[in-house]
């Protein structure tokens, strides 16, 4: 994802449900609208939880990657 400018990297590795989305919702306000946060998590539930969170919170999950057990989720702040 080298073509996306990352405003912030959020390391949530080792945190199980519900902490990834809780931390995400707390951190989304720390970047400007239009900027992207790169989230690292090891909770497999995050793969479905982040899109669900984004659709309710009005934000956008651009893409997800998996790399050696680490899930990388790219979240764009829309509102």
């Amino acid at each position: 994802m080298s073509d996306i400018a990352i405003a912030k990297v959020l390391d949530l590795k080792g945190l199980p449900c519900p902490m990834p989305v809780v931390k995400m919702s707390q951190e989304i306000g720390s970047v400007q609208v239009g900027e992207v946060i790169e989230v690292h998590t090891t909770d497999p539930g995050s793969l479905s939880d982040f899109p669900a969170w984004a659709s309710t919170a009005g934000q956008e999950v651009i893409t997800t990657e998996q790399d050696n057990g680490v899930i990388k989720i790219f979240v764009k702040r829309l509102v």
Partner: protein
């Protein structure tokens, strides 16, 4: 025809004026159970819901009120039955037990070990996060009275109130999700 149409229009306007707003983006949850596992599930749903941008109100009633007690001893000036309930019910959230496989406490302590190992949030952590996120806790006044709990025995939490069934119903009526656990 146009007079008829105007009549319908005024009727419609009146209806719109008296219309109430639909349910809020809110979760109202009754927490009835005082079991550790059900409390964990409730608090995970509650903190998750705030993360999803919802307002959350938790109504603690019956057995669940014991989970809101401070771990210290009982308040003074209680009658015998209230004292007995006080002795027998868990003194706070960390003394609650699993609803299944408790096995005289062995199962519960094994579960707590596992949760620590897997880094799962404990009830202490979840209450702490819920408080920070603005989750409201409302405690059933009648359960408090039945179990003989006094207000000074209840934990310090940033957003805690005591109420009756009408408060819950008024909240639940305006909530998009209602749960009973």
């Amino acid at each position: 025809m146009s007079a008829d149409f105007e009549k319908q229009l005024t009727e419609l306007k009146q209806k719109i004026d008296t219309m109430k707003p639909g349910p809020e983006n809110k979760l109202s949850m009754v927490i009835f159970s005082g079991d550790m596992d059900k409390l964990l599930a409730s608090m995970i749903i509650a903190t998750g819901a705030v993360a999803m941008g919802m307002k959350v109100v938790l109504f603690f009633t019956f057995w669940a009120t014991a989970a809101l007690r401070k771990p210290e001893g009982q308040a003074k000036g209680k009658d015998l039955k209230s004292k007995m309930f006080g002795w027998m019910l868990p003194k706070g959230r960390n003394k609650t037990k699993l609803s299944q496989m408790n096995m005289a406490g062995l199962g519960t302590s094994m579960m707590k070990d596992l949760m620590k190992k897997k880094n799962a949030p404990s009830l202490d952590q979840l209450f702490d996060i819920a408080g920070q996120l603005g989750v409201q806790i409302k405690v059933c006044e009648m359960s408090m009275d039945l179990m003989g709990f006094k207000r000074e025995e209840i934990i310090d939490y940033p957003n805690i109130d005591f109420c009756g069934v009408a408060t819950f119903l008024a909240d639940a009526k305006n909530s998009s999700i209602q749960l009973f656990i």
